[in-house]
């Protein structure tokens, strides 16, 4: 059997509004931090995976990064899978080291979306995900597309605005324990329900943040991981599923590919959802997290909202989830947003999460989704 890839380094930069930051500067800082975390030198890296950028877009972002950082790895590529990119990069890095192509793969993303773009420009850039002929002419935004999912899901499974709000409150509860988080002031369900509508039924506090920030991990071959600094975290299983890109062409408005991507990851890791100690799940909107918690099988349909209201996603609950504060309260800076979830899972499994530590966390689940619940990637990570 192939020996599982090991995550040997994980780090992120300051997040939120980072004055003076640039896209490539955030990449380089995150990369340096992750290498230091692993106890490796830049010259140890023989593979690089990058994502995409809004503020410094380029056809070949991995080449741009390697030139900027000053390395010439044997392998490099950029991956575009929207919010799934962080998990997809981790899955691809594991495949590269397990196949013997690379020994140490640096996975890095970052963007200064908050300071480098106006809010209007960020909203407009994101709206370009919609179909140019059959969605965008009708004035859709990303929140509008997720609002359509929310309306359909609430109709079919009885989720309520309070259930959605519970997801945002949970993120903020965790973020309050995380000194790095962009938004730490506690909120209540009533606060979420009193915030203004963005696209019904989604309100401002149902939506993720726009942030500056970068994140990186180092994925190493099992035999190469011996020389690194920290307690190893194995990538035990990964899975993917794409069912559509545009919502107008989605096979269903209430059943998405996260179910199959998670089933693959659990199967490859030889575990089930019930074995997971801590989950870091993509939460671009409250509805995103609610759908994923139920489709993946952590909760039955209609149960995630009531469970979250009762504290199931908090420390000590049935499934501590998004312990760093997630995209709604920690930060969301493009592809780095999904990598923050991976970095947090590694910190939890190493016992480095300080005030937000899940006690004796041995197995973590990480999930990313891109588009409108279009592209999914799931990871199961385990303490070695």
């Amino acid at each position: 059997m192939t020996r599982r890839a090991i995550i040997t380094g994980a780090a992120d930069t300051a997040v939120g509004e980072v004055p003076g930051s640039t896209c490539m500067g955030l990449h380089a800082e995150a990369a340096s931090l992750a290498l230091a975390d692993a106890g490796l030198k830049p010259s140890d890296i023989d593979g690089v995976l990058c994502a995409y950028s809004f503020t410094e877009p380029h056809l070949m972002l991995a080449s741009v990064f390697c030139e900027y950082f000053g390395i010439q790895p044997a392998y490099s590529a950029a991956i575009h899978a929207g919010g799934a990119t962080g998990c997809v990069m981790a899955m691809q890095a594991a495949a590269l080291v397990e196949a013997g192509v690379c020994r140490h793969v640096l996975v890095v993303a970052g963007d200064n979306r908050l300071s480098g773009l106006s809010r209007d420009k960020a909203v407009a850039a994101l709206a370009e995900v919609g179909h140019p002929q059959f969605e965008r002419p009708f004035g859709v935004t990303i929140p509008a597309l997720y609002g359509l999912v929310a309306q359909a899901y609430m109709h079919e499974y009885g989720a309520t605005p309070e259930h959605l709000a519970a997801m945002a409150v949970n993120s903020r509860t965790h973020a309050a324990r995380n000194p790095k988080a962009q938004m730490r002031k506690p909120i209540t369900v009533a606060d979420v329900l009193a915030s203004r509508f963005i696209s019904e039924p989604l309100r401002l506090l149902d939506c993720c943040l726009i942030s500056d920030g970068g994140a990186a991990i180092v994925v190493s071959a099992a035999d190469a991981a011996r020389d690194t600094a920290k307690r190893p975290v194995a990538l035990l299983g990964a899975g993917q599923k794409n069912t559509h890109e545009h919502l107008v062409a989605a096979p269903s408005l209430t059943e998405f590919g996260c179910r199959d991507s998670a089933a693959q990851a659990f199967g490859r890791a030889g575990v089930t959802a019930a074995d997971i100690d801590v989950a870091e799940i993509y939460d671009s909107f409250t509805i995103t997290l609610l759908v994923e918690l139920e489709s993946i099988g952590f909760f039955q349909k209609g149960e995630a909202g009531p469970a979250a209201l009762a504290g199931a996603l908090d420390l000590g609950g049935r499934l501590p989830c998004n312990t760093h504060g997630g995209l709604m309260s920690y930060a969301h800076s493009g592809a780095a947003g999904g990598l923050f979830h991976v970095v947090e899972a590694v910190r939890q499994l190493r016992g480095e999460a300080e005030a937000r530590q899940v006690r004796d966390a041995e197995l973590a689940f990480v999930h990313g989704d891109g588009g409108i619940l279009s592209a999914h990637c799931s990871l199961v990570l385990g303490r070695q």
Partner: protein
């Protein structure tokens, strides 16, 4: 004010937009498996047979989801806020996205019957965007 971005027809979609300009909603149907599809493509996405044929659709369907947009994607939509975007499943099976107009936009519900209409043609490509209006209960 910035103009709204209008679709630019291509070889896959030209017949659809020509239909809209004539007040006719068109869908593709596969010659091999008879699947009706939208958005238009050069092949059938169900059985992958080439060259599906165009046919006139009923223009009748039901709302399967809706959202009232308060924060527009660009300044071009600011004057319309709030407006309703809906997904409508047509009688023929495919789903399309439209804005709801008139009484249909007041308090839309999933399952409401609607009929597709068209905005006046605009722009260099004579684009008549489809919209949906309420159908009185039978």
């Amino acid at each position: 004010m910035t103009d709204k971005l209008l679709p630019i027809p291509n070889a896959d979609t030209r017949a659809f937009w020509e239909g809209c300009a004539q007040g006719e909603l068109r869908l593709q149907r596969c010659r091999a498996c008879r699947n009706a599809q939208f958005p238009p493509r050069a092949l059938c996405a169900a059985c992958h047979a080439p060259s599906p044929v165009w046919e006139k659709a009923s223009g009748r369907g039901r709302i399967v989801s809706h959202t009232r947009v308060h924060r527009p994607p660009s300044p071009a939509f600011k004057a319309d806020v709030p407006y309703v975007v809906a997904l409508v499943t047509l009688e023929e099976g495919p789903r399309i996205m439209v804005n709801l107009r008139g009484a249909a936009a007041d308090a839309p519900r999933i399952g409401d019957a609607v009929r597709i209409g068209f905005d006046p043609p605009a722009g260099p490509d004579n684009i008549a965007l489809p919209h949906a209006v309420a159908v009185a209960a039978p």
